[in-house]
Structure formats: structure tokens, C-alpha cells
Amino acid sequence: MGCNDAQELIHGYMDGELDLRSQLEIERHIEGCAACAAAYQVQQQVRSAIAHPALYCKAPAGLARQVDRALRRADRAGRPAFSRPPAPGPRPLLLWRFAGAAAALALAAAVVWMAVVLPRRSAEDLIARDVVASHVRSLMPGHLTDVPSSDQHTVKPWFNGKLDFSPPVKDLAAEGFPLVGGRLDYLAQTPVAVAVYRRRQHYINLFLWPEGRGGGAKSGPQIRQGYNLIHSTRAGMNFWAVSDLNLGELEEFLKRAAN
């Protein structure tokens, strides 16, 4: 690999976007080339400088309401605010012909769903709802942590005597998820530990409680109220992570937190 290629590939490497082979090649190149090793170091500094939360421009306080009002006004006016017409759907006549069959199918599906899937899912569903509710509440001013600390050796012992289990609180700062603190919470009729992490300006609530107290069923990622929600079970512990962080990074987080 030449230096020209390497100077570009170190970016894919830093961003974790290279396939395994290129990754190994670039690592070998950096080891043997002082110039590229120095460039790599500089670029990493640039990268972390730009990723600083202070550079993130959050929406001003009134904007959500302003947008909401504009949306409702446009909706009431009954036409999209922008001039482009919506994509044409199937013709109405055709639609009617299938409507009967579709309704029957939907009804059958609903019966099956309610009889089979619903009871099994509802416990899970309640927990998911509680987790999101708690996440939203935690983001209101002053509710995020009971013990604010980026030190796992402060947060983890803090739970002693407050819970009948010792939650696995990890230091993930090196992976780009600094610890923010810990909090006691109560969901699905059981007390749980919450470790709060941050990725850039996104907070992640990680709920921890022992397996066998509900919430251990396997199900995939969910989106609720715009928040991503994933969970896993490991070493007798339930891990539920919720955040407005994108799903890819949240999955990366959970993999490391529950490992």
C-alpha cells in the first residue's frame, strides 16, 4: 500500500468503516511508516476536536413549538405546504375491489394477533413502555442522575445497600461512551439500576436488573416515541438501553456494555 492510498484509508480506519483486510493492511502500513503514523495521529486529534459537544448547535427553545404550529396550520389547510404533489397511489376503483378482501385478512390477522401474540408480548411491552417513560422523565432538568460521576468506582458502589444485586457498571469512555452517573429507578414492579452514558450530546439510559424478574424475552430493536430501544441478557442480567442515539451506535454501545 502506498502512502497516497494510506492517507485516505486512515479515515475509513478511524471511522470503523473498513473491511477486515483493508484494516489489517492499514495497521501494517502505519506501523512501518512514520509519516502516515504522524498523519494518523493528527487526524485523530482533528476528529475528536470537531466531535466536541460545544460545537453541536442545539435547536433554540421555542423552535419545537414554532414547527408544531406550522405543521398544524399546513395540515388544517389540507394541502402540503410544499408545491410538489404526493406520489400517485393505486386508482380508486382498483382499491375498492381489494378493500373487502383486505378487510377480511386484516380481521383474521387481528384475531390471531390478539389470541396468540398479544398475551406473550404484553409483559415485554409494559417494560418497554416503562423504560421509555423513565428515559423521557430522566431527561427533564434535574432527573438524570442520583449520583453524577464519570467514575465507575463511584457509581457502582453507590448502589450497595439500595439494591439486592450489584449492577455491572462499566467504564466505556475509551469506546466513546463516557459515564455520566447512576440512578435508582423502578419498573415492571421491580427496583432497577440505571447507568447513564453519553455519546456526543445524546444520553443513553442503561437499565440493569437480574434475569428472572421479567424483561428477558428475546425481541428485536424497537422505536418508541422516536427513541431507540434495545435489550439483551447476559450473565444473569437484563440490559435495556434507550436513547435518541441512532440504532447502529446504540447497538455498538449495548454490545460493549453487556460484554
Partner: protein, 184 residues
């Protein structure tokens, strides 16, 4: 999900539930592309209205990249209408690309770099560079997502990021050494 859209809340409510959580992301991108607080607010509002009219084409999932695509396009439309055209990257690159080293770690001294200076350097970057940096470093989008938001090929994302970061490093290096000289 079972039978979406029946007996649920109205369209605006569903839309807001899915996309208002990404208001900060929308604003951040608009703010960095327009470089002006008030303009960014206007663009964001316009983008949300546009997004509502396209909501039927939203496939669910993480709405952020979908929304950011619309925010970006709204920004570009807005910039074309309201701002003189910025120097194109290609032109700019030919003039400035020396292919030389991007400074060494000692002289860059980013740890102490004035944040104001960094902000300035970012704001002065050509639009095409600025947007990939913001999407990657501040939003943490994957190359795939950046490609779809910016309407470029995935392969282009890496080379653009590489050039953008190299340019930031060079500018920081040049300006901080200039300031040091000027300050003495």
C-alpha cells in the same frame, strides 16, 4: 408492526412522534450549512413542512437520516436562492491542494486550540466538506447514511472526509502559527 395507521392518532401526531425527536439534529445541520441562527430556524421549519408532505414515503425506522436528507436539500435550495454561489470545491482544491504533509502533532497543538478558531475554520470550509464533517463527527452517521443524505456514492464519502479533515488540520496549523507570530 400490526396494521399501521388504523384508528391511530392523526397524521401530524404520528409525524411529530417520529420526527420531532430529531429537531436538534435538523437544526444543527441547518445551522452549520447556513451559518446563521435565524436562517437555520426558517430552513428547519420549511424542511419539516416538506417532510410532512412526503411522510407517506417514510418507511419507518430511524427517521433521522430521512429527515436530514430533506433538511439538506431545503438548505441547498435556500442557499441557491439567498446567497451568492460559494467557490466550488474542485476549483478550490486545485488551487490549494499541495499534497504535502498536514502538519505534525507538536505544531498542531489541537488540545489547546481555540474553539472559536476551529468554529471559524469549519464555517469557512466549502459546503461539500462541511456537510460530511458535520454528519460524521457531530451526528455520528455511518458512511452509508451520509451517502444517502448527501446524495453521493459511499466511496466518495471517505475521500471527501479525508480531504475535509486534512484541510481542517492544515488551516488550524497555519492559523495558530500565524496567531502566535502575530501575538508576539
Amino acid at each position: 408492526m400490526f396494521s399501521p395507521g388504523w384508528a391511530g392518532p392523526g397524521k401530524v401526531e404520528r409525524f411529530e412522534q417520529a420526527l420531532l425527536p430529531h429537531l436538534d439534529a435538523a437544526f444543527n445541520l441547518a445551522r452549520w450549512l447556513t451559518r446563521n441562527q435565524q436562517d437555520a430556524e426558517d430552513v428547519v421549519q420549511e424542511a419539516y413542512l416538506r417532510a410532512l408532505s412526503f411522510f407517506d414515503s417514510f418507511r419507518g425506522g430511524d427517521g433521522r437520516a430521512w429527515l436530514l436528507t430533506i433538511v439538506r436539500n431545503t438548505c441547498y435550495t435556500w442557499l441557491r436562492k439567498n446567497r451568492p454561489p460559494e467557490a466550488s470545491v474542485l476549483f478550490d482544491e486545485e488551487l490549494h491542494s499541495t499534497g504535502e504533509e498536514t502538519g505534525n502533532p507538536e505544531t498542531l497543538a489541537l488540545r489547546n486550540a481555540d474553539r472559536r478558531l476551529l468554529e471559524q475554520v469549519l464555517e469557512e470550509l466549502p459546503l461539500e466538506f462541511r456537510e460530511v464533517l458535520i454528519l460524521r463527527e457531530l451526528e455520528g452517521l455511518s458512511y452509508q447514511e451520509i451517502a444517502s443524505v448527501a446524495g453521493i456514492r459511499v466511496g466518495t464519502v471517505m475521500s471527501r472526509l479525508a480531504r475535509a479533515r486534512q484541510r481542517v488540520a492544515r488551516q488550524l496549523h497555519d492559523r495558530s502559527s500565524k496567531e502566535q507570530k502575530g501575538g508576539l
